[in-house]
Amino acid sequence: MKINPVIEKELRIKMRGWRSPALLAVYLAILGLVIFFGFFENIFDIGYSFRTFNPRTAYNVYNALASFQLVLLTLIVPAVTAGAISGERERQTLDLMLCTNFSPLSIIIGKIAVSIAQIMLLIVASMPILGTVFLFGGVRITDLLLLIAYYLATALMVASIGIFFSTLFKKTSVANILTYLTLMFLHFGTLVLFAFYVRVTMDPVNFTRPTFNEALAFLFANPMFGFSYLLEGPSGGGTILSLFTMVLSYGAGNAPVVPPWVANMIFDVVVAAVLIPLSARLLRRP
Protein backbone atom coordinates (compact mmCIF):
# COMPACT_ATOMS: atom_id res chain seq x y z
CA MET A 1 0.00 0.00 0.00
CA LYS A 2 1.20 3.50 -0.81
CA ILE A 3 0.48 6.57 1.25
CA ASN A 4 -0.71 9.56 -0.76
CA PRO A 5 2.60 11.42 -1.38
CA VAL A 6 0.87 14.79 -0.99
CA ILE A 7 -0.10 13.90 2.59
CA GLU A 8 3.38 12.58 3.32
CA LYS A 9 5.12 15.70 2.01
CA GLU A 10 2.76 18.21 3.64
CA LEU A 11 2.97 16.57 7.04
CA ARG A 12 6.74 16.46 6.73
CA ILE A 13 6.91 20.17 5.93
CA LYS A 14 4.37 21.19 8.55
CA MET A 15 5.66 19.12 11.42
CA ARG A 16 9.22 20.28 10.85
CA GLY A 17 10.59 23.00 13.09
CA TRP A 18 9.10 24.54 16.20
CA ARG A 19 5.87 26.07 14.88
CA SER A 20 3.50 23.11 15.05
CA PRO A 21 4.49 21.92 18.54
CA ALA A 22 4.39 25.55 19.76
CA LEU A 23 0.90 26.04 18.32
CA LEU A 24 -0.30 22.84 19.96
CA ALA A 25 1.21 23.83 23.32
CA VAL A 26 -0.40 27.28 23.25
CA TYR A 27 -3.72 25.77 22.30
CA LEU A 28 -3.67 23.23 25.11
CA ALA A 29 -2.61 25.92 27.58
CA ILE A 30 -5.63 28.04 26.61
CA LEU A 31 -7.97 25.07 27.01
CA GLY A 32 -6.42 24.32 30.40
CA LEU A 33 -7.03 27.91 31.51
CA VAL A 34 -10.65 27.79 30.38
CA ILE A 35 -11.22 24.67 32.47
CA PHE A 36 -9.35 26.00 35.46
CA PHE A 37 -11.37 29.19 35.58
CA GLY A 38 -14.59 27.31 34.86
CA PHE A 39 -14.12 25.17 37.95
CA PHE A 40 -12.39 27.80 40.00
CA GLU A 41 -15.45 29.96 39.80
CA ASN A 42 -17.58 27.02 40.85
CA ILE A 43 -15.40 26.22 43.82
CA PHE A 44 -15.27 29.84 44.82
CA ASP A 45 -19.04 30.16 44.80
CA ILE A 46 -19.96 27.02 46.63
CA GLY A 47 -16.90 26.26 48.67
CA TYR A 48 -14.43 23.55 47.98
CA SER A 49 -16.42 20.56 49.08
CA PHE A 50 -16.98 18.10 46.22
CA ARG A 51 -20.19 17.01 47.89
CA THR A 52 -21.79 20.23 46.74
CA PHE A 53 -20.22 20.09 43.32
CA ASN A 54 -22.77 20.94 40.67
CA PRO A 55 -22.54 18.66 37.57
CA ARG A 56 -24.24 21.34 35.51
CA THR A 57 -21.08 23.41 35.84
CA ALA A 58 -18.99 20.59 34.40
CA TYR A 59 -21.56 20.35 31.66
CA ASN A 60 -21.36 24.03 30.87
CA VAL A 61 -17.58 23.94 30.76
CA TYR A 62 -17.79 20.98 28.44
CA ASN A 63 -20.21 22.85 26.16
CA ALA A 64 -18.05 25.94 26.14
CA LEU A 65 -14.96 23.96 25.23
CA ALA A 66 -16.77 21.99 22.56
CA SER A 67 -18.15 25.21 21.03
CA PHE A 68 -14.75 26.86 21.20
CA GLN A 69 -13.32 24.00 19.18
CA LEU A 70 -16.02 24.28 16.53
CA VAL A 71 -15.27 27.98 16.15
CA LEU A 72 -11.57 27.22 15.95
CA LEU A 73 -12.24 24.61 13.29
CA THR A 74 -14.26 26.97 11.11
CA LEU A 75 -11.50 29.56 11.41
CA ILE A 76 -8.45 27.34 10.83
CA VAL A 77 -9.62 24.91 8.13
CA PRO A 78 -10.41 27.65 5.55
CA ALA A 79 -7.04 29.28 6.20
CA VAL A 80 -5.32 25.99 5.42
CA THR A 81 -7.40 24.84 2.45
CA ALA A 82 -8.07 28.12 0.62
CA GLY A 83 -4.35 28.28 -0.16
CA ALA A 84 -3.93 24.59 -0.87
CA ILE A 85 -4.09 24.76 -4.67
CA SER A 86 -3.80 28.49 -5.39
CA GLY A 87 -0.78 28.59 -3.07
CA GLU A 88 0.94 25.92 -5.15
CA ARG A 89 0.07 27.94 -8.23
CA GLU A 90 1.49 31.12 -6.73
CA ARG A 91 4.62 29.29 -5.63
CA GLN A 92 4.87 27.86 -9.17
CA THR A 93 4.90 24.27 -7.96
CA LEU A 94 1.45 23.32 -9.24
CA ASP A 95 2.53 22.52 -12.80
CA LEU A 96 5.29 20.28 -11.46
CA MET A 97 2.61 18.22 -9.72
CA LEU A 98 0.14 18.27 -12.60
CA CYS A 99 2.68 17.18 -15.21
CA THR A 100 3.10 13.87 -13.37
CA ASN A 101 0.62 11.09 -13.97
CA PHE A 102 -0.67 11.41 -10.39
CA SER A 103 -4.43 12.00 -10.51
CA PRO A 104 -5.83 15.47 -9.72
CA LEU A 105 -8.49 13.79 -7.54
CA SER A 106 -5.75 12.29 -5.36
CA ILE A 107 -4.09 15.71 -5.07
CA ILE A 108 -7.38 17.22 -3.86
CA ILE A 109 -8.06 14.36 -1.46
CA GLY A 110 -4.51 14.56 -0.11
CA LYS A 111 -4.83 18.29 0.54
CA ILE A 112 -8.19 17.84 2.29
CA ALA A 113 -6.89 14.96 4.38
CA VAL A 114 -3.94 17.09 5.53
CA SER A 115 -6.16 19.98 6.56
CA ILE A 116 -8.49 17.68 8.50
CA ALA A 117 -5.53 15.91 10.10
CA GLN A 118 -4.16 19.27 11.26
CA ILE A 119 -7.37 20.36 12.98
CA MET A 120 -8.09 16.89 14.33
CA LEU A 121 -4.64 16.86 15.89
CA LEU A 122 -5.65 19.89 17.95
CA ILE A 123 -9.02 18.39 18.79
CA VAL A 124 -7.83 14.90 19.67
CA ALA A 125 -4.94 16.30 21.71
CA SER A 126 -7.49 18.20 23.76
CA MET A 127 -9.62 15.13 24.41
CA PRO A 128 -7.84 14.33 27.70
CA ILE A 129 -8.81 17.82 28.86
CA LEU A 130 -12.40 17.33 27.79
CA GLY A 131 -12.08 13.93 29.46
CA THR A 132 -11.45 15.51 32.85
CA VAL A 133 -14.75 17.29 32.48
CA PHE A 134 -16.23 14.03 31.36
CA LEU A 135 -14.90 12.45 34.56
CA PHE A 136 -17.03 14.77 36.66
CA GLY A 137 -20.04 13.19 35.07
CA GLY A 138 -22.78 14.50 32.90
CA VAL A 139 -21.15 13.45 29.64
CA ARG A 140 -21.21 9.96 28.21
CA ILE A 141 -18.47 8.41 26.09
CA THR A 142 -20.90 8.15 23.17
CA ASP A 143 -21.43 11.92 23.40
CA LEU A 144 -17.71 12.38 23.04
CA LEU A 145 -17.51 10.08 20.01
CA LEU A 146 -20.50 11.74 18.36
CA LEU A 147 -18.87 15.09 18.94
CA ILE A 148 -15.70 13.96 17.16
CA ALA A 149 -17.78 12.61 14.27
CA TYR A 150 -19.53 15.98 14.03
CA TYR A 151 -16.20 17.83 13.97
CA LEU A 152 -14.93 15.51 11.25
CA ALA A 153 -17.99 16.05 9.06
CA THR A 154 -17.87 19.83 9.56
CA ALA A 155 -14.12 19.94 8.82
CA LEU A 156 -14.73 17.91 5.65
CA MET A 157 -17.41 20.36 4.47
CA VAL A 158 -15.34 23.46 5.25
CA ALA A 159 -12.23 21.94 3.64
CA SER A 160 -14.19 21.06 0.48
CA ILE A 161 -15.43 24.62 0.15
CA GLY A 162 -11.93 26.00 0.73
CA ILE A 163 -10.32 23.69 -1.79
CA PHE A 164 -13.04 24.36 -4.35
CA PHE A 165 -12.44 28.12 -4.26
CA SER A 166 -8.70 27.49 -4.20
CA THR A 167 -8.92 25.59 -7.50
CA LEU A 168 -11.49 27.95 -9.03
CA PHE A 169 -9.54 31.16 -8.35
CA LYS A 170 -5.91 31.87 -9.09
CA LYS A 171 -5.37 33.96 -5.99
CA THR A 172 -5.30 32.64 -2.43
CA SER A 173 -6.66 35.94 -1.12
CA VAL A 174 -9.79 35.65 -3.28
CA ALA A 175 -10.27 32.00 -2.31
CA ASN A 176 -9.89 32.93 1.36
CA ILE A 177 -12.46 35.72 1.20
CA LEU A 178 -15.01 33.61 -0.65
CA THR A 179 -14.58 30.67 1.70
CA TYR A 180 -15.14 32.85 4.77
CA LEU A 181 -18.11 34.57 3.09
CA THR A 182 -19.69 31.20 2.33
CA LEU A 183 -19.18 30.09 5.93
CA MET A 184 -20.64 33.35 7.17
CA PHE A 185 -23.68 32.72 5.05
CA LEU A 186 -24.06 29.21 6.46
CA HIS A 187 -23.70 30.44 10.04
CA PHE A 188 -25.52 33.75 9.95
CA GLY A 189 -27.18 34.14 6.54
CA THR A 190 -29.38 31.12 7.13
CA LEU A 191 -30.34 32.58 10.52
CA VAL A 192 -31.31 35.90 8.95
CA LEU A 193 -33.39 34.14 6.30
CA PHE A 194 -35.11 32.13 9.01
CA ALA A 195 -35.77 35.22 11.11
CA PHE A 196 -37.25 36.89 8.04
CA TYR A 197 -39.47 33.87 7.45
CA VAL A 198 -40.61 33.95 11.08
CA ARG A 199 -41.53 37.62 10.83
CA VAL A 200 -43.47 37.16 7.63
CA THR A 201 -45.41 34.07 8.70
CA MET A 202 -45.99 34.94 12.34
CA ASP A 203 -49.59 35.60 13.22
CA PRO A 204 -49.46 38.82 15.27
CA VAL A 205 -52.65 38.00 17.22
CA ASN A 206 -52.03 34.41 18.34
CA PHE A 207 -48.28 34.75 18.30
CA THR A 208 -47.79 31.34 16.62
CA ARG A 209 -44.27 30.08 16.64
CA PRO A 210 -42.58 28.14 13.84
CA THR A 211 -42.30 24.37 14.25
CA PHE A 212 -39.03 22.55 14.54
CA ASN A 213 -39.31 21.22 11.02
CA GLU A 214 -39.75 24.68 9.60
CA ALA A 215 -36.60 25.74 11.42
CA LEU A 216 -34.79 22.68 10.12
CA ALA A 217 -35.77 23.56 6.55
CA PHE A 218 -33.86 26.83 6.94
CA LEU A 219 -31.10 25.81 9.27
CA PHE A 220 -30.09 22.27 8.22
CA ALA A 221 -26.95 23.73 6.63
CA ASN A 222 -26.08 25.80 9.68
CA PRO A 223 -23.30 24.04 11.63
CA MET A 224 -24.32 25.82 14.87
CA PHE A 225 -27.90 24.53 14.76
CA GLY A 226 -27.01 20.86 14.51
CA PHE A 227 -24.20 21.35 16.98
CA SER A 228 -26.29 22.93 19.68
CA TYR A 229 -28.86 20.18 19.30
CA LEU A 230 -26.11 17.59 19.53
CA LEU A 231 -24.79 19.15 22.75
CA GLU A 232 -28.00 19.88 24.54
CA GLY A 233 -30.79 17.83 23.01
CA PRO A 234 -34.26 19.11 22.13
CA SER A 235 -35.04 20.55 25.55
CA GLY A 236 -31.97 22.75 25.47
CA GLY A 237 -31.84 25.44 28.08
CA GLY A 238 -28.09 25.72 27.90
CA THR A 239 -25.83 28.16 26.20
CA ILE A 240 -26.23 28.08 22.44
CA LEU A 241 -29.50 26.36 21.78
CA SER A 242 -31.39 28.99 23.72
CA LEU A 243 -30.83 31.14 20.67
CA PHE A 244 -32.98 28.75 18.69
CA THR A 245 -35.35 27.36 21.33
CA MET A 246 -36.69 30.81 22.14
CA VAL A 247 -38.42 31.04 18.82
CA LEU A 248 -39.45 27.41 18.37
CA SER A 249 -42.71 25.93 19.50
CA TYR A 250 -42.71 22.61 21.29
CA GLY A 251 -45.25 20.01 22.07
CA ALA A 252 -46.37 16.55 21.11
CA GLY A 253 -45.84 15.69 17.46
CA ASN A 254 -43.47 18.57 16.87
CA ALA A 255 -40.23 16.61 16.93
CA PRO A 256 -37.89 17.16 13.99
CA VAL A 257 -38.16 14.56 11.20
CA VAL A 258 -34.47 13.98 11.61
CA PRO A 259 -32.24 15.30 14.39
CA PRO A 260 -30.61 18.55 13.20
CA TRP A 261 -27.09 17.23 13.75
CA VAL A 262 -27.86 14.25 11.49
CA ALA A 263 -29.31 16.59 8.84
CA ASN A 264 -26.22 18.78 9.08
CA MET A 265 -23.80 15.86 8.79
CA ILE A 266 -25.67 14.63 5.72
CA PHE A 267 -25.38 18.14 4.29
CA ASP A 268 -21.62 18.12 5.02
CA VAL A 269 -21.09 14.84 3.23
CA VAL A 270 -23.18 15.93 0.23
CA VAL A 271 -21.20 19.19 -0.10
CA ALA A 272 -17.94 17.23 -0.02
CA ALA A 273 -19.23 14.64 -2.49
CA VAL A 274 -20.12 17.41 -4.94
CA LEU A 275 -17.20 19.80 -4.49
CA ILE A 276 -14.31 17.32 -4.33
CA PRO A 277 -14.87 15.73 -7.77
CA LEU A 278 -15.71 19.17 -9.16
CA SER A 279 -12.40 20.58 -7.88
CA ALA A 280 -10.55 17.62 -9.40
CA ARG A 281 -12.20 18.38 -12.75
CA LEU A 282 -11.19 22.02 -12.54
CA LEU A 283 -7.64 21.00 -11.75
CA ARG A 284 -7.47 18.52 -14.59
CA ARG A 285 -7.92 21.13 -17.34
CA PRO A 286 -7.02 24.72 -16.63
Binding site: K2, E8, R12, I13, T93, C99, T100, N101, P286
Partner: protein, 315 residues
Protein backbone atom coordinates in the same frame (compact mmCIF):
# COMPACT_ATOMS: atom_id res chain seq x y z
CA UNK B 1 8.16 10.27 -30.91
CA UNK B 2 6.39 13.63 -30.90
CA UNK B 3 3.94 14.71 -33.60
CA UNK B 4 2.20 18.09 -33.49
CA UNK B 5 -0.42 18.79 -36.14
CA UNK B 6 -1.96 22.19 -36.80
CA UNK B 7 -1.84 23.19 -33.17
CA UNK B 8 -3.89 26.29 -32.29
CA UNK B 9 -4.15 27.93 -28.87
CA UNK B 10 -6.24 31.02 -28.29
CA UNK B 11 -6.39 33.08 -25.12
CA UNK B 12 -9.71 34.80 -25.60
CA UNK B 13 -9.35 36.50 -28.97
CA UNK B 14 -5.57 36.45 -28.93
CA UNK B 15 -3.98 33.60 -30.87
CA UNK B 16 -0.77 32.50 -29.14
CA UNK B 17 -0.14 29.41 -31.29
CA UNK B 18 -1.41 29.52 -34.84
CA UNK B 19 -1.49 26.28 -36.82
CA UNK B 20 1.85 24.94 -35.71
CA UNK B 21 3.08 21.55 -36.89
CA UNK B 22 6.27 19.66 -36.18
CA UNK B 23 7.60 16.15 -35.88
CA UNK B 24 10.49 14.80 -33.85
CA UNK B 25 11.84 11.32 -34.45
CA UNK B 26 13.00 9.07 -31.59
CA UNK B 27 16.41 10.04 -30.21
CA UNK B 28 16.41 13.39 -31.94
CA UNK B 29 16.99 16.74 -30.30
CA UNK B 30 14.80 19.52 -31.60
CA UNK B 31 15.60 23.14 -30.86
CA UNK B 32 12.60 25.40 -30.60
CA UNK B 33 13.68 28.99 -31.19
CA UNK B 34 11.77 32.24 -31.21
CA UNK B 35 11.70 35.67 -29.62
CA UNK B 36 9.89 36.16 -26.31
CA UNK B 37 6.15 35.82 -26.67
CA UNK B 38 6.42 33.67 -29.81
CA UNK B 39 4.40 30.83 -28.28
CA UNK B 40 7.11 28.35 -27.27
CA UNK B 41 6.01 27.95 -23.67
CA UNK B 42 2.36 27.66 -24.68
CA UNK B 43 3.18 24.89 -27.15
CA UNK B 44 5.30 23.03 -24.61
CA UNK B 45 2.63 23.26 -21.91
CA UNK B 46 0.10 21.78 -24.29
CA UNK B 47 2.44 18.89 -25.05
CA UNK B 48 3.02 18.36 -21.31
CA UNK B 49 -0.75 18.12 -20.79
CA UNK B 50 -1.01 21.34 -18.75
CA UNK B 51 -3.05 23.36 -21.24
CA UNK B 52 -5.92 22.35 -23.44
CA UNK B 53 -5.34 23.18 -27.12
CA UNK B 54 -8.02 25.15 -29.00
CA UNK B 55 -7.51 22.93 -32.03
CA UNK B 56 -5.03 20.47 -33.44
CA UNK B 57 -3.50 17.17 -32.39
CA UNK B 58 -0.52 16.29 -30.23
CA UNK B 59 0.69 12.70 -30.03
CA UNK B 60 3.55 11.37 -27.94
CA UNK B 61 4.71 7.88 -28.91
CA UNK B 62 1.36 7.50 -30.65
CA UNK B 63 -0.66 8.55 -27.57
CA UNK B 64 -2.96 11.56 -27.86
CA UNK B 65 -2.18 13.93 -24.98
CA UNK B 66 -5.72 15.32 -24.82
CA UNK B 67 -7.54 11.99 -24.92
CA UNK B 68 -5.15 9.98 -22.75
CA UNK B 69 -3.32 12.50 -20.57
CA UNK B 70 -2.22 10.02 -17.92
CA UNK B 71 -0.67 7.58 -20.38
CA UNK B 72 0.99 10.45 -22.25
CA UNK B 73 2.36 12.05 -19.06
CA UNK B 74 4.03 8.77 -18.17
CA UNK B 75 6.15 9.20 -21.33
CA UNK B 76 6.98 12.88 -20.87
CA UNK B 77 9.47 14.62 -18.61
CA UNK B 78 8.73 18.34 -18.40
CA UNK B 79 10.85 21.14 -17.07
CA UNK B 80 9.05 24.51 -17.05
CA UNK B 81 10.73 27.87 -17.69
CA UNK B 82 9.80 29.14 -14.24
CA UNK B 83 9.16 26.96 -11.24
CA UNK B 84 9.29 27.08 -7.47
CA UNK B 85 10.40 24.76 -4.69
CA UNK B 86 9.02 24.06 -1.24
CA UNK B 87 10.39 25.41 2.03
CA UNK B 88 11.45 23.00 4.76
CA UNK B 89 12.10 20.14 2.36
CA UNK B 90 15.45 18.45 1.79
CA UNK B 91 16.73 17.55 -1.68
CA UNK B 92 16.30 13.81 -1.06
CA UNK B 93 12.78 14.37 0.31
CA UNK B 94 11.95 16.55 -2.68
CA UNK B 95 12.96 13.75 -5.04
CA UNK B 96 11.05 11.17 -2.99
CA UNK B 97 7.90 13.31 -3.10
CA UNK B 98 7.96 13.37 -6.91
CA UNK B 99 8.85 9.65 -6.95
CA UNK B 100 5.61 9.19 -5.01
CA UNK B 101 3.64 11.28 -7.50
CA UNK B 102 5.04 9.21 -10.36
CA UNK B 103 4.00 6.04 -8.52
CA UNK B 104 7.53 4.72 -7.90
CA UNK B 105 7.56 1.96 -5.25
CA UNK B 106 9.05 2.85 -1.87
CA UNK B 107 11.99 0.45 -2.07
CA UNK B 108 13.10 1.90 -5.43
CA UNK B 109 12.87 5.57 -4.45
CA UNK B 110 16.24 5.90 -2.71
CA UNK B 111 18.09 4.20 -5.57
CA UNK B 112 16.46 6.35 -8.25
CA UNK B 113 17.09 9.50 -6.21
CA UNK B 114 20.78 8.63 -5.81
CA UNK B 115 21.22 7.84 -9.50
CA UNK B 116 19.58 11.04 -10.70
CA UNK B 117 21.35 13.27 -8.19
CA UNK B 118 24.58 11.73 -9.42
CA UNK B 119 23.61 12.49 -13.02
CA UNK B 120 22.99 16.17 -12.28
CA UNK B 121 25.96 16.48 -9.88
CA UNK B 122 23.94 17.17 -6.76
CA UNK B 123 24.96 14.15 -4.71
CA UNK B 124 26.71 16.30 -2.11
CA UNK B 125 23.56 18.43 -1.70
CA UNK B 126 21.36 15.47 -0.84
CA UNK B 127 20.66 16.68 2.71
CA UNK B 128 20.50 20.39 1.92
CA UNK B 129 17.18 22.22 1.98
CA UNK B 130 15.95 22.86 -1.57
CA UNK B 131 15.22 26.54 -0.99
CA UNK B 132 18.86 27.14 -0.08
CA UNK B 133 20.17 25.90 -3.47
CA UNK B 134 21.46 28.31 -6.11
CA UNK B 135 19.44 28.94 -9.24
CA UNK B 136 21.64 26.62 -11.31
CA UNK B 137 21.33 23.85 -8.73
CA UNK B 138 17.55 24.22 -8.57
CA UNK B 139 17.47 24.01 -12.34
CA UNK B 140 19.48 20.79 -12.25
CA UNK B 141 17.32 19.40 -9.44
CA UNK B 142 14.21 20.14 -11.49
CA UNK B 143 15.79 18.33 -14.42
CA UNK B 144 16.50 15.31 -12.20
CA UNK B 145 12.87 15.46 -11.05
CA UNK B 146 11.65 15.34 -14.65
CA UNK B 147 13.66 12.13 -15.22
CA UNK B 148 12.24 10.12 -12.31
CA UNK B 149 9.89 7.98 -14.40
CA UNK B 150 12.50 7.45 -17.13
CA UNK B 151 10.50 9.29 -19.81
CA UNK B 152 11.19 8.85 -23.53
CA UNK B 153 10.50 12.49 -24.35
CA UNK B 154 11.99 15.45 -22.51
CA UNK B 155 10.46 18.90 -22.81
CA UNK B 156 12.84 21.54 -21.56
CA UNK B 157 11.61 25.13 -21.60
CA UNK B 158 14.60 27.49 -21.68
CA UNK B 159 16.71 25.39 -19.31
CA UNK B 160 19.69 27.73 -19.62
CA UNK B 161 17.91 31.04 -19.12
CA UNK B 162 18.93 33.03 -16.08
CA UNK B 163 22.04 30.93 -15.51
CA UNK B 164 25.58 32.24 -15.28
CA UNK B 165 28.07 31.00 -17.91
CA UNK B 166 29.50 28.34 -15.61
CA UNK B 167 26.05 26.92 -14.83
CA UNK B 168 25.19 27.01 -18.53
CA UNK B 169 28.16 24.80 -19.31
CA UNK B 170 27.14 22.37 -16.55
CA UNK B 171 23.63 22.23 -17.96
CA UNK B 172 24.94 21.66 -21.48
CA UNK B 173 27.08 18.75 -20.31
CA UNK B 174 24.08 17.11 -18.64
CA UNK B 175 21.95 17.58 -21.74
CA UNK B 176 24.63 15.95 -23.86
CA UNK B 177 24.58 12.99 -21.51
CA UNK B 178 20.81 12.76 -21.88
CA UNK B 179 21.15 12.72 -25.64
CA UNK B 180 23.63 9.89 -25.34
CA UNK B 181 21.10 8.04 -23.21
CA UNK B 182 18.82 8.11 -26.26
CA UNK B 183 16.21 10.54 -24.95
CA UNK B 184 14.16 12.50 -27.44
CA UNK B 185 14.44 16.16 -26.53
CA UNK B 186 12.40 19.25 -27.33
CA UNK B 187 14.32 22.24 -26.02
CA UNK B 188 13.49 25.92 -26.36
CA UNK B 189 15.49 29.11 -26.30
CA UNK B 190 15.15 32.65 -27.51
CA UNK B 191 18.77 32.56 -28.62
CA UNK B 192 19.62 30.34 -31.56
CA UNK B 193 23.39 29.82 -31.11
CA UNK B 194 22.67 28.28 -27.73
CA UNK B 195 20.89 25.39 -29.44
CA UNK B 196 22.50 25.10 -32.86
CA UNK B 197 25.43 23.13 -31.50
CA UNK B 198 23.52 20.40 -29.70
CA UNK B 199 20.33 20.02 -31.75
CA UNK B 200 19.79 17.82 -34.76
CA UNK B 201 16.97 20.04 -36.04
CA UNK B 202 15.75 23.52 -35.36
CA UNK B 203 12.38 25.17 -35.75
CA UNK B 204 11.94 28.91 -35.63
CA UNK B 205 8.62 30.20 -34.39
CA UNK B 206 7.30 33.72 -34.49
CA UNK B 207 3.87 35.00 -33.48
CA UNK B 208 2.68 31.42 -33.06
CA UNK B 209 3.69 30.31 -36.53
CA UNK B 210 6.56 28.11 -37.63
CA UNK B 211 8.72 30.34 -39.83
CA UNK B 212 11.31 27.86 -40.87
CA UNK B 213 12.34 24.38 -39.84
CA UNK B 214 15.11 22.02 -40.79
CA UNK B 215 18.60 20.92 -39.84
CA UNK B 216 21.02 23.60 -38.71
CA UNK B 217 22.96 23.39 -41.98
CA UNK B 218 19.80 23.83 -44.03
CA UNK B 219 18.81 26.86 -42.07
CA UNK B 220 22.20 28.52 -42.40
CA UNK B 221 21.92 28.08 -46.14
CA UNK B 222 18.47 29.62 -46.27
CA UNK B 223 19.34 32.55 -44.05
CA UNK B 224 22.36 33.67 -46.05
CA UNK B 225 20.05 33.90 -49.03
CA UNK B 226 17.93 36.83 -49.95
CA UNK B 227 16.75 39.73 -47.88
CA UNK B 228 14.07 42.12 -49.07
CA UNK B 229 14.37 45.91 -49.11
CA UNK B 230 11.44 48.24 -49.26
CA UNK B 231 12.16 51.60 -50.87
CA UNK B 232 9.83 54.53 -51.37
CA UNK B 233 10.69 57.43 -53.65
CA UNK B 234 8.97 60.66 -54.61
CA UNK B 235 7.52 60.82 -58.08
CA UNK B 236 8.71 58.60 -60.90
CA UNK B 237 10.20 55.24 -59.91
CA UNK B 238 11.92 54.68 -63.28
CA UNK B 239 15.31 56.37 -62.50
CA UNK B 240 15.49 54.61 -59.12
CA UNK B 241 14.88 51.21 -60.69
CA UNK B 242 17.54 51.88 -63.31
CA UNK B 243 20.08 52.79 -60.64
CA UNK B 244 19.20 49.76 -58.52
CA UNK B 245 19.69 47.39 -61.44
CA UNK B 246 23.31 48.50 -61.64
CA UNK B 247 24.03 47.25 -58.12
CA UNK B 248 25.68 43.83 -57.97
CA UNK B 249 24.07 42.88 -54.68
CA UNK B 250 20.54 43.43 -56.01
CA UNK B 251 18.42 40.64 -57.47
CA UNK B 252 14.93 40.98 -58.83
CA UNK B 253 13.03 44.26 -58.47
CA UNK B 254 9.27 44.59 -58.11
CA UNK B 255 7.59 47.96 -58.49
CA UNK B 256 4.41 48.20 -56.45
CA UNK B 257 1.91 51.04 -55.98
CA UNK B 258 3.72 52.59 -53.07
CA UNK B 259 7.04 50.83 -52.77
CA UNK B 260 9.77 49.29 -54.76
CA UNK B 261 10.60 45.85 -53.40
CA UNK B 262 14.14 44.80 -53.95
CA UNK B 263 15.67 41.39 -53.36
CA UNK B 264 19.07 41.88 -51.93
CA UNK B 265 21.98 39.64 -51.00
CA UNK B 266 24.59 41.12 -48.73
CA UNK B 267 25.37 42.57 -45.35
CA UNK B 268 24.40 45.84 -43.73
CA UNK B 269 27.37 47.76 -45.19
CA UNK B 270 26.32 46.80 -48.67
CA UNK B 271 22.78 47.85 -47.82
CA UNK B 272 24.12 51.28 -46.84
CA UNK B 273 26.02 51.43 -50.16
CA UNK B 274 22.79 51.06 -52.07
CA UNK B 275 21.17 53.92 -50.21
CA UNK B 276 24.27 56.07 -50.76
CA UNK B 277 24.29 55.53 -54.50
CA UNK B 278 20.56 56.26 -54.72
CA UNK B 279 20.99 59.56 -52.93
CA UNK B 280 24.11 60.41 -54.95
CA UNK B 281 22.14 59.69 -58.11
CA UNK B 282 19.69 62.41 -57.08
CA UNK B 283 16.80 60.04 -56.32
CA UNK B 284 14.34 61.58 -53.79
CA UNK B 285 14.27 58.63 -51.36
CA UNK B 286 11.71 59.13 -48.60
CA UNK B 287 11.91 55.72 -47.00
CA UNK B 288 14.40 52.93 -47.12
CA UNK B 289 14.38 49.81 -45.01
CA UNK B 290 14.24 46.11 -44.68
CA UNK B 291 10.86 44.47 -45.00
CA UNK B 292 9.10 43.83 -41.69
CA UNK B 293 8.81 40.20 -40.66
CA UNK B 294 11.35 39.02 -43.17
CA UNK B 295 13.34 35.99 -42.19
CA UNK B 296 16.42 38.05 -41.54
CA UNK B 297 14.56 40.24 -39.12
CA UNK B 298 13.53 37.30 -37.00
CA UNK B 299 17.00 35.90 -37.25
CA UNK B 300 18.50 39.09 -36.01
CA UNK B 301 16.31 38.73 -32.95
CA UNK B 302 17.03 35.10 -32.24
CA UNK B 303 20.68 34.98 -33.23
CA UNK B 304 21.93 38.43 -32.43
CA UNK B 305 23.40 38.45 -35.94
CA UNK B 306 23.70 35.81 -38.61
CA UNK B 307 27.47 35.83 -38.29
CA UNK B 308 27.23 34.28 -34.83
CA UNK B 309 25.22 31.42 -36.24
CA UNK B 310 27.63 30.82 -39.12
CA UNK B 311 30.58 30.74 -36.75
CA UNK B 312 28.76 28.20 -34.60
CA UNK B 313 27.88 25.85 -37.42
CA UNK B 314 31.36 26.20 -38.89
CA UNK B 315 32.92 24.80 -35.71
Amino acid sequence: MLVIENLVKKYGRFTAVDGLSLEIGPGHCYGFVGPNGAGKTTTMKIVAGLLRPTAGKVRVAGIDVVENPREAKAKIGYMPDFFGVYDNLKVSEYMEFYCGLYGVEYRKRAVITDQLLELVNLTDKKDAYVDTLSRGMKQRLCLARSLIHDPDLLILDEPASGLDPRARIDMKEILKELRNMGKTILISSHILPELSEMCTSIGIIEKGKMVITGTVAEIVRKISQKRTLKIKVLGDTEPAVRLLQEQVTVGSITVGNEHIEVEFEGDNNQMADILRSLVKGGIPVISFGEMEGSLENIFMQVTGGAAALENQSGN
